[in-house]
């Protein structure tokens, strides 16, 4: 293929001479086709403008439809009209120049000063405007100046008297080149009188093809309709002028012509009623074709529809690998991959042909042949190395999977296809995270790379298992969460014992080749089962989330370090003690997955995730992860503590209010009296809630250590899989202070929040303190306070997603062309330097350990372990 490089593009304005020069034919009549359906000579569909019927040859260039690019025509207007898009520029010039001689209304000294003082054209124009406004007379010819007014979009007034485009054109012609340079015009390329149109370019018919409907009725393009209007009015205007009609009628028709030309360029100009189709639909003229989301640029050029793609709803399937995507058979049948026949795959491909899974073949000479039920046998015999077959998608093909909005690189990943009998795309729920997908009706797109190069590239760069580490901070972002963590937690709790038969089923699901001996009589401990998924040389020890939570909510509890039953110790791939929770698996905190992802090949962590999600779904299905109301009942002891805390707290609050009113309140540094009071009240209510929280957690945590822990809520909280102690306290403790923008709600009635309170009451209960919880239910006032806070939360989520989404888009768009060069410098596409060394330290966060190039501690630890100590 001939390759040409574009040296430069320059944009300019078409002048009448150029329009006439590039015109293939001058259009003279508004008719398009004659009675027999042939295009009229010198009409809008003149064959000189290009061909749209296959087989015909262009009358201008003699080429067929495929090769003829289309040719412009021209149309002479009897009276000039303004181009509405330039009326602002015209206004600017008219206001600053003399009507008689066309010179700028500044004397030589002023011009010289301007040229000296400023380099920015816009600045100069602004200065000229302010200076010329004061001039009464032209400094060159002495003529009186006048006030030029623009009545948008196209009507001009000089001293309140209408001036017509022909006068404007004469005026603009008079402005000398030197003066125009002041306004930033390059007069070699552009003259302002071209803003007033005398001749109109007629676009080729390829741009406005007419459509023949099934009924045989020809339907014209919107642009053609508009051009017909222009030509008709122009003809009427001409007739009237020739007949010597009164000035008033001519001016009316002139304005009508102006209207049609204006809407021909843009049908959405403010102040101009949009031109309508016969059906009442506004016409889609030139500007509308290009502008906006559905315009040529965003719809057809920056984004395009592609082949070899599919879209469908997604559903979860924990039995798939995270690398796989389930493709419905019906979709797989439509999607094809081109595969070249070689000595080695000929046999396999022949089998596919026979099975009807190949749709077409291409012979080495480039001839394509579709496979039908008749020729299927011949094709199978014919197939030989050098042929290319187009076969349907099959298990193991590399495909790209994507969910919009594609905010980061992980929004599009490569998967291995797996044909499934259902009707939706299936993914392992673990990979929801990078896509930010859920299964409430989300749809996703699938693309099939066609070349071997494309497939290899997708696999090496975008495969799910190669993308487990986040490119932002170098910790896994594809993680077990929610059910995954709960499952691992339940499995590794010290109490968990699993009968032999059930454990064997787990081992089968894990595809173990060697079955370990039971370690608890006839049963297996959960830890032993879990250990089967760890690499044999893994050594780790760290503190678990369980232990942290225990210590936080129970002052009597102390982590016993090496002896702590909850802290994790893994020796040679065996989980000796500890519970696997968020500190093992969580995002950023998960030490276990962190190590697996960083220190082992990607298959290891993929294997871990795949097997874990299988066991999890089995385990939790059997166990039943559910919550009931009784989980949120609290003992009388807790209730008493709550009463006490509230009582004491409110007493304290009353004291504060008194101090506040007496103005004896101790101020917080940097805050005034009112602010100090508000902050202290917030602290007070927070303390009440904290006391209740501690009590509830202490009571509930004890249950986890029992033989048969029944409380799933607390398991979820302790393992960190979902929910926090705060949520639990809201349900069974108390809600506490309702807040709006980090403070107590205060707007409402004057000096009080709701009508039930006394004016000026600033006590806790009058300003949003809620004593009740969700179990007991709130009273009227409390319900209102709660709604006030709830509303803010709702508004915040709505606003912040909208704002941050747009902000992110702008940022991403401005940074997308910046890349790292071979010398480690960061540069724009124009090779301008942004950073001398990427990130100033040259470290790629994905390969770093929490931002650092090397994790010294871990290195020392593993060296020691290798030495055998």
């Amino acid at each position: 293929m001939l390759q040409k490089k574009i040296g430069s593009i320059d944009f300019r304005i078409l002048d009448p001479k150029t329009i006439r020069k590039m015109s293939a034919i001058e259009i003279k009549t508004a008719d398009t086709y004659d009675k027999d359906g042939y295009p009229m000579e010198e009409g809008l569909m003149d064959p000189h403008l290009g061909v749209i019927n296959p087989g015909l040859r262009c009358k201008t260039c003699g080429q067929t439809m495929k090769h003829c690019p289309g040719h412009f025509g021209s149309f002479e207007l009897v009276r000039p009209v303004l181009h509405a898009k330039f009326s602002k520029k015209v206004e600017e010039l008219l206001q600053c120049t003399c009507k008689e001689c066309g010179r700028v209304l500044l004397d030589e000294k002023e011009i010289a000063a301007l040229k000296q003082g400023f380099t920015d054209t816009e600045e100069i124009i602004r200065k000229i405007k302010t200076k010329t406004k004061k001039k009464k007379r032209c400094p060159y010819c002495g003529a009186m100046t006048g006030k030029v007014l623009l009545d948008r979009p196209t009507n001009f007034y000089f001293n309140k008297e209408r001036i017509y485009p022909s006068e404007i054109r004469e005026w603009l012609e008079k402005i000398p080149d030197e003066d125009l340079e002041l306004f930033g015009y390059n007069t070699k390329i552009i003259r302002p009188e071209w803003f007033v149109l005398t001749v109109l370019p007629i676009p080729p018919i390829t741009i406005r093809p007419s459509i023949t409907l099934e009924s045989g009725v020809k339907s014209e393009d919107d642009l053609t309709h508009k051009l017909v209007d222009i030509i008709r009015i122009n003809a009427r205007l001409k007739d009237n002028i020739d007949a010597g009609a009164p000035q008033l009628i001519i001016e009316d028709l002139w304005d009508l012509l102006q209207y049609h030309v204006t809407t021909y360029f843009d049908n959405q100009i403010a102040g101009v009623p949009p031109a309508k189709h016969r059906s009442g639909r506004p016409l889609r003229t030139i500007t509308q074709r290009l502008k906006g989301k559905k315009g040529r640029f965003r719809h057809n050029l920056t984004g395009k529809r592609v082949n070899f793609a599919a879209r469908s709803t997604i559903s979860p399937d924990p039995y798939l690998s995270i690398n796989e995507v389930g493709v419905p058979e019906e979709i797989a049948r439509e999607l094809t991959i081109a595969e070249r026949v070689t000595e080695w795959n000929a046999k396999r491909l022949k089998k596919l042909v026979k099975a009807g899974k190949v749709f077409s073949i291409t012979r080495p000479d480039g001839m394509r042949k579709r496979i039908t039920s008749e020729n299927i046998g011949d094709v199978e015999k014919e197939l030989a190395p050098g042929y290319v077959v187009e076969r349907m998608l099959q298990d193991g093909d590399i495909v790209l999977f994507n969910r919009q909005p594609s905010l980061h690189r992980l929004s599009m990943l490569a998967h291995k296809a797996r044909i499934v009998p259902q009707k939706t795309f299936k993914i392992n729920p673990i990979v929801c995270k990078p896509y930010n997908a859920d299964f409430d009706g989300d749809e996703m797109n699938l693309h099939v790379p066609q070349t071997e190069e494309g497939q290899a590239e997708a696999k090496e760069l975008m495969f799910v298992e190669n993308q487990i580490l986040s490119p932002r901070y170098g910790a896994p972002i594809i993680i077990l969460d929610e059910d995954g963590v709960t499952g691992a937690y339940v499995l590794t709790m010290p109490q968990t014992e699993i009968p032999k038969e059930k454990a064997w089923q787990f081992f089968y699901e894990m595809q173990l080749e060697e079955i370990p001996k039971p370690d608890r009589g006839n049963n297996y401990s959960g830890k032993l089962i879990f250990s089967q998924l760890l690499p044999k040389d893994l050594n780790l020890s760290y503190r678990s989330k369980t232990c942290e939570v225990m210590e936080k909510s129970n002052p009597d509890y102390k982590c016993k370090g090496d002896e702590c039953p909850y802290c994790v110790r893994i020796r040679n791939g065996i989980l000796e003690k500890g519970i696997i929770d968020e500190n093992s698996l969580g995002e950023g905190k998960g030490k276990l997955v962190d190590t697996l992802a960083r220190e082992y090949p990607p298959e290891v962590i993929t294997n871990f995730y795949d097997k874990m999600s299988r066991i999890n779904s089995d385990l939790l299905t059997v166990k039943g992860l559910t919550v009931g109301l009784e989980e949120y009942e609290v003992s009388n002891r807790v209730k008493k503590v709550k009463e006490e805390a509230i009582h004491e707290g409110l007493k304290e609050a009353k004291k504060l209010v008194k101090k506040y009113k007496e103005k004896t309140l101790q101020l917080i540094p940097g805050r005034n009296r009112h602010e100090s009071f508000e902050i202290k009240m917030m602290r007070l209510t927070a303390e009440i809630k904290r006391r209740v929280e501690r009590e509830i957690m202490r009571e509930k945590l004890e249950i986890v250590t029992r033989e048969k822990p029944e409380l799933n809520t607390i398991i979820m909280i302790v393992s960190g899989s979902r929910g926090s102690s705060l949520n639990l306290v809201n349900i069974s403790g108390l809600w506490g202070q309702a807040s709006v923008r980090e403070g107590r709600p205060k707007r409402g009635f004057s000096e009080r929040l709701i009508a039930l309170n006394k004016k000026g009451d600033v006590g806790a209960e009058a300003c949003g303190f809620i004593k009740s919880n969700f179990m007991d239910g709130m009273n009227g006032e409390e319900y209102f306070y709660h709604s006030v806070g709830g509303r803010q939360g709702e508004v915040d989520t709505g606003v912040s997603t909208k704002v941050s989404g747009y902000l992110y888009r702008r940022l991403a768009n401005s940074l997308k062309d910046i890349s790292i060069e071979n010398d480690n410098s960061v540069r724009t596409s124009g090779k301008k330097v942004v950073q001398l060394v990427y990130g100033e330290d040259g470290i790629f966060p994905m390969n770093s350990v929490k931002g650092k190039g090397v994790d010294l501690e871990r290195e020392i630890f593993s060296i020691k372990a290798r030495e055998g100590k």
Binding site: S825, V833, L836
Partner: protein, 76 residues
């Protein structure tokens, strides 16, 4: 109120490169002057350096990722 901008603790050290050093930097980055990051001649931080347009300013500053880093800007 006025204070010395270049002595403020938040303003990193700016210094002017001589011709030889400037050439070295450009060679190392294999870059021409117009592709370099710019600093305005009127920038308060380099007022004292009496820099001419086209000079290269060396900026030694603290970086949250790499500790001390060196950055170059061309005076415009």
């Amino acid at each position: 109120m006025s204070f010395k901008v270049d002595e403020h603790f938040l303003v990193p050290k700016h210094s002017l490169l001589n011709e030889e050093e400037a050439k070295k930097v450009l060679d190392k980055l294999s870059v021409s002057l117009d592709k370099m990051p710019a600093i305005l001649k009127s920038d308060p931080a380099i007022k004292k350096l009496k820099a001419k347009v086209g000079d290269i300013v060396k900026i030694e500053r603290q970086s949250p990722t790499a500790g001390k880093t060196v950055y170059y800007r061309v005076v415009r």
